[in-house]
């Protein structure tokens, strides 16, 4: 006769085993890469490991899409997905990659700079693992990842993360944050090596102007902003004025020289590139959000943020009707085009000429899916 508690134990084990298998299946489903369909203007598809071979076979390796125009001109690099929990950055890079036509110069797009971060979500945040957008070819699923590289790729976190080479000290969690790891080093941590690989793109391709797309919580001070290295001040300010003529407000923010590890500082200090970083307001990243689900990613409607806005007690950037993904992607696209136009104004002898990208208004009118394969 089997003891009753053995039967109970077996049943409990079986329940946990089934739960574990289901959870593992869910977790492993995040390892399936997102599909991106580059436009016909794609001239070369490379990998990050082509620039730094140590990344081959690791989760740091990621696609590098190169669009070369027929006429010579400047070289542009654009990063999406530095923080995979900032979907407008990744989707904006994807829209650009799937629509761009380059007439002069080159545009290099890395849609998922932190590929490792797309393989998991952040613990305790309750983030969805994916969201689905209706596109021209039907529903298309995109992963919603973590802010940082997966702990499976970089473990354990140190108690204190000391930035190389400045010696700046941050929380150990930031050792997995790509945007605290620049300029990186070839023999460093996982994120430092990823950062080094991206720096190698800048160096080997002799990039002239580079963009890093981001989002942030509505209560963060640097929001709906263009952060610029001092080399790009005139370009940034002229772009801000031009964007304002279109009815779009971007706060210009100078990159602090004493805050290390970020693209807008380190790219510009270590190479000749003129870097820009753009931020939009993303409610799902915020501390005040309520239900955290794919709908919040796409629609950006948070009654809690609306209440906070109406209270006047907080300084937040949130439109009462919401901050939908299409609006945030539209802001990135409009900002990118304005900055390129401004760059060309100051570099008439070496412009980059692109077309095929929708404006913010076109995305709002026609829907985001209309510009995704």
């Amino acid at each position: 006769m089997i003891p009753k508690h053995h039967i109970t134990g077996a049943i409990v084990l079986l329940i946990f085993a089934v739960a574990g298998v289901l959870a593992a299946h869910d977790f492993i489903s995040m390892w399936t890469p997102d599909k991106i369909y580059p436009s016909a203007a794609l001239t070369e598809k490379r990998r990050l490991s082509d620039y730094f071979s140590d990344l081959k076979g690791t989760n740091a390796d990621t696609d590098v899409l190169i669009f070369q125009g027929d006429r010579p001109g400047a070289t542009v690099m654009l990063l999406g997905g530095t923080h995979p929990n900032e979907p407008a950055a990744f989707i904006a890079a994807t829209v650009i990659a799937e629509n761009i036509v380059v007439n002069a110069g080159r545009v290099i797009i890395v849609p998922q700079a932190c590929a490792s971060g797309f393989t998991c979500t952040d613990p305790f945040e309750g983030y969805p693992q994916s969201y689905t957008l209706d596109t021209k070819s039907g529903p298309r699923r995109f992963r919603f990842g973590s802010r940082v590289a997966s702990p499976l790729d970089s473990w354990p976190d140190p108690l204190i993360y000391t930035h190389y080479p400045s010696g700046q000290r941050l929380s150990g969690f930031e050792s997995r944050n790509l945007n605290r790891s620049y300029p990186g080093r070839p023999n460093g941590t996982f994120s430092e090596r990823t950062a080094y690989g991206i720096m190698e793109i800048l160096r080997q391709e002799q990039v002239d102007v580079a963009f890093d797309l981001h989002e942030a919580a509505p209560e963060i001070p640097i929001i709906n902003a263009i952060v610029y290295h001092e080399k790009g001040e005139d370009i940034a300010l002229a772009a801000v004025l031009d964007l304002e003529m279109l009815g779009m407000s971007y706060a210009p923010e100078l990159s602090p020289t004493n805050f290390h590890g970020l693209s807008h500082r380190e790219w510009g200090d270590a190479t000749d590139v003129i870097p820009f970083l753009m931020e939009t307001s993303n409610p799902i990243q915020g501390r005040l959000r309520g239900q955290t689900n794919a709908e919040l990613v796409i629609e950006g409607v948070s009654p809690e943020y609306k209440e906070a806005l109406e209270s006047g007690a907080l300084r937040i950037v949130y439109t009462p009707t919401g901050e939908p993904l299409k609006h945030r992607v539209g802001r990135h696209l409009q900002g990118f085009q304005a900055l390129l136009n401004s760059y060309n104004m100051y570099h008439e002898d070496n412009p980059v000429e692109i077309e095929g990208l929708p404006s913010h208004q076109e995305i709002m009118d026609n829907g985001l899916g209309n510009y995704l394969h």
């Binding site: 300010l237 801000v240 004025l241 003529m245 407000s249 706060a251 923010e253 990159s255």
Partner: protein, 195 residues
């Protein structure tokens, strides 16, 4: 009798003269402007930030487009006022800007107060241009906004930054002329007209 008619004639002539004076006083009361404020301000101009937002540099760019003789010095001090005829202060707090400048908010407040005092001591008129909208309002910015606005002889404000009438109320209280515009680019016209 003759003296009476002479006196009456003088009184009759005095009436329209007095009416003209009264009209001038009414107009002054309505606008809060004194005739001297309508006079053009002089160049060269120094543009300084109060709070270290990049808005000062935006205004600097606008003055370049207007071909005004202006220098932008975000961390301006009294020493920078040498030879300056007009000071433009562009208030607005930025944590990144303060970080870039390597100063704490209290140090920045002290610098701004010293600059304003120095300008006032040299009778240099101060124009406040607030272009940051809502992003440069709130508890961190309003200290700088108030310090600059209270010292201004003229204000140009993008209306998004005045939705709660912060600047308009201050202007009314201190009788400072204020112009509200819709966009940053719209500040160019009133700014140009000042010089």
């Amino acid at each position: 009798m003759k003296k009476f008619f002479i006196l009456a004639a003088i009184m009759t002539l005095l009436v329209p003269f007095r009416a003209a004076l009264n009209a001038g006083e009414v107009e002054e009361a309505a606008t809060g402007a004194v005739p001297e404020a309508a006079a053009k301000l002089e160049q060269p101009i120094l543009i300084s930030s109060a709070g270290q937002s990049a808005d000062a540099k935006l205004v600097g760019m606008l003055t370049k487009r207007l071909k005004l003789n202006a220098t932008t010095e975000s961390m301006a001090t009294a020493a920078n006022l040498e030879g300056i005829k007009t000071l433009i202060i562009v208030p607005g707090y930025s944590s990144k800007g303060l970080g870039a400048a390597g100063v704490k908010p209290e140090d920045e407040a002290e610098r701004v107060a010293s600059l304003i005092k120095a300008a006032q001591g040299r009778n240099i008129p101060i124009v406040v241009v607030h272009v940051g909208g809502k992003a440069r309002r709130g508890p961190q910015s309003d200290g700088f906004n108030r310090a600059a606005a209270e010292a201004a002889c003229h204000m140009i404000v993008v209306s998004q930054g005045d939705e709660d009438h912060f600047f308009s109320d201050l202007a009314g209280e201190k009788k400072i002329p204020i112009e509200l515009v819709e966009k940053i680019a719209d500040t160019a016209e009133p700014l140009g007209k000042l010089f």
